[in-house]
């Protein structure tokens, strides 16, 4: 299969205009007729919104804003790339570091400058061949159809020795997602028993972790950081396991080591910030979130989190009166609040977090009046609140509001989160330590058990028994949306299997009516919508 650029759309993303033109000339000599040039990532995103390109050649360095990798991430994340698009990253330096990091969004290849037309052609040809051969596998993988992917790999691998490693890598991922840990382990350890290949080493450690063999996992990742000191995944895993094993100080040191080697990593800086917070190390926490804000500037993965956390870390510093540069810090925090509003669309949760953070900040500056103003705003917002607050944010708000003396508000936010997330044992155990409502915790644990039991019965088609347990769970935790939806679903199933006996219908209607509101973006909204529709249909039948 000969690769041709003749009918293909190509986009060049390159800040150095002369070089862009020379690349275009190379493409023309390969028969390309439709070649566009943009000079930065932002324009590239706009171009990709308008047109789906077949080939994109992007420089990694694109000036002061988004770089090539960030561009790729944004395009991938927002679905602007067609699956057959070949994305080559043009780089000035050694590409190995990039190959090792950012595993999720990888270009189809890297090309180090300077290169000539022959090399470019060869690379495009190779990338095109590989994409073609691996098409069915890649499609199954990106649709998360793991068994399908395994079947495709079985077909493709024997006929294509060239792509054996890629196939094995995908096979590993599919097995892991299917929770076939033993097979996944065998695959990875067979490779590492022959040679030390970074991704396979990481895979071995990952399986140990998933099997909760934490000590073994730690050994693997310790070795990995020794043997491949620039493989940052090794440090990330090691830190994660050290936390799991109750070694938060070691985890912090590990993350700091990784960041020395590669500071520009948004997620890693945030993780360090969180670990440092746990360790009450406000200096490190502050610097980490500062870096997160800085490096998040051009990333599609930036979020209000790092801004809120940073204001909170600096406020903590300000509340210790021995500050010589408090003016600078105050300016910094004020700047952060401004940028927070500028850069992110304010949803209900972010507004609440922001107001609480502002209250905390003014309190730290001994401006009690202003603090009070923001606390009242917060109360107002919480009252009106329709969306669900995530577990992590509920812990943050509970802690901040307690410190600000608003115990009732703190408790009510936490209690609601406990009810909504009773099937998240990690969160419940953290919340249990903070909540004054031991009865609630006990109720939620019980509700969770009933819910699981009921689901089991439902799967065995034992609807009457399932209904009993869902009823019990719902009584204990009437706000929990998942339980409510499960309960309604079983009731409807019961009605259907009873040949139309509608005695359960009013119950179903009542439950749906009393559930907390779901907004359109909640993943359960579709389910809620559908159940509501069915209930309404049946209600109409009875009134006829």
């Amino acid at each position: 299969m000969i690769f041709t650029l003749a009918k293909k759309n190509t986009l060049i993303v390159e800040d150095f205009a002369e070089f862009a033109r020379s690349v275009r000339a190379m493409l023309h000599s390969m028969g390309a007729t439709d070649v566009e040039i943009v000079y930065n990532a932002e324009d590239a995103v706009e171009a990709c919104k308008r047109k789906k390109y077949d080939v994109i050649l992007s420089d990694y360095n694109l000036g002061p804003k988004k770089d090539g990798q960030q561009l790729l991430e944004e395009l991938s994340k927002n679905g602007h790339l067609k699956s057959s698009c070949i994305f080559l990253m043009l780089t000035a330096e050694n590409t190995t570091a990039m190959v090792m990091g950012a595993v999720e969004f990888q270009p189809d290849g890297y090309l180090a400058k300077p290169f000539n037309g022959n090399l470019l052609k060869s690379r495009l040809q190779k990338a095109s061949e590989k994409k073609h051969v691996m098409e069915s596998v890649n499609r199954a993988m990106s649709n998360r159809q793991w068994q399908q992917a395994l079947d495709e790999i079985k077909e493709v691998m024997p006929k294509n020795k060239k792509y054996k490693m890629s196939c094995l890598r995908s096979r590993y991922k599919a097995l892991r997602e299917l929770k076939k840990y033993n097979e996944a382990f065998e695959l990875a350890s067979e490779i590492t028993s022959q040679r030390a290949i970074p991704w396979a080493m990481e895979a071995v450690g990952e399986i140990f972790y998933l099997q909760e063999k934490y000590e073994k996992a730690r050994d693997v990742f310790r070795n990995m950081t020794k043997e491949f000191p620039m493989s940052l995944e090794g440090y990330d895993w090691l830190a994660k396991i050290q936390q799991q094993l109750g070694e938060p100080l070691e985890a912090q040191a590990t993350l700091q080591k990784a960041l020395e080697k590669s500071p520009k990593a948004l997620q890693r800086q945030k993780t360090l910030g969180a670990v440092a917070e746990q360790n009450n190390d406000s200096m490190v926490m502050t610097q980490a979130y500062r870096n997160a804000v800085k490096y998040g500037k051009n990333s599609a993965f930036a979020s209000p989190d790092e801004y809120i956390k940073l204001t909170s870390a600096i406020s903590q510093q300000l509340s210790k009166d021995d500050n010589t540069d408090s003016n600078r810090l105050i300016n910094e925090v004020e700047g952060l609040f401004v940028n927070l509003e500028k850069n992110f669309v304010a949803n209900e949760t972010t507004s609440i977090r922001s107001n609480v953070a502002k209250a905390g900040f003014h309190k730290a500056c001994n401006e009690d009046d202003k603090a009070e103003k923001y606390l009242q705003k917060t109360e107002h917002l919480v009252e009106k609140l329709e969306e669900q607050i995530t577990p992590a944010v509920s812990l943050e708000l509970n802690s901040a509001l307690s410190k600000l003396g608003r115990d009732e508000l703190a408790e009510s936010i936490l209690d609601e989160a406990i009810q909504q997330n009773l099937d998240d044992p990690e969160f419940i155990s953290k919340a249990a330590k903070l909540s004054n409502n031991s009865e609630l915790i006990a109720q939620c644990k019980q509700a969770s058990q009933y819910n699981l039991k009921a689901i089991n019965l439902f799967q065995k088609n034992n609807y009457p028994e399932a209904i009993k347990y869902f009823e019990g769970a719902h009584k204990l935790s009437p706000h929990n949306i998942n339980i409510g939806l499960n309960y309604v679903q079983v009731l409807l199933k019961q009605i259907q299997s009873n040949g139309g006996d509608l005695k359960e219908l009013p119950v179903a209607e009542k439950i749906l009516g009393k559930l907390p509101t779901l907004n359109g973006e909640d993943s359960r909204y579709a389910r809620y919508s559908e159940l509501n529709r069915l209930v309404q249909l049946m209600v109409q039948k009875t009134s006829n």
């Binding site: 002369e18 360095n61 190995t96 890297y110 400058k113 300077p114």
Partner: protein, 230 residues
Amino acid sequence: MKDNSESIFNMVLASTVHDMKNSLSMLGESLNLILSQVDPELLDEKTKDYHGVVQYESARVNNSLMQLLALYKFENEQLPFNPSYHNLSDFLEEQKLRHIPLLDAKSIDCEIDVDEEIEGIFDECLLSTVLENVIGNAIRYTKSAIKISCSQQQNTVIEIADDGPGYPEQMIVLAGDYMHGINQSTGSTGLGLFFAKKIASLHKHKEQIGCIRLSNGGELGGGRFELIIP
């Protein structure tokens, strides 16, 4: 946490390298474009020679840059090393492609002799940089032909042979052991071989460590460079 000035230097280094590479790319491409517009009949030997010089020298500067950068990172434990399985035929074909403009300009014949099926385990990017330098040198010193070959028994051996005058005795003995001062006649600082040896040694398996070997004679009768990796 590490000193801030170090990371500033890293950034300056990275952006300067980026800038220099762009310039070099432009030099090379511009020249190619100019020459492609000239009727080949009108190109005399001297012009072709100069074309070769520009290609060769800019490739050398670029390559030296890469090696310096890599060595700097190596000294600071910041050199990423990512070994993986690679098809050697594909890899070596690509190395040849990098030099096609120069090979054509100097009418040098470049043969590749590798079994299509064999794979090696190495860091593709780092070995690319090494071979680019070695092949570039071979082109500089050869008379008319270069041969790139690869064999595999216990180790993977990549060999670059030319039909030029061969390596001076001193080089063969030192084989990258240390960088000597600038050799006035050849302009060589030994950076290339020093780098090659360092990169080879990163490739380890059990007790075996990668290395390089220089010799004279070989199939083409000139210099012979061997890169041996486990």
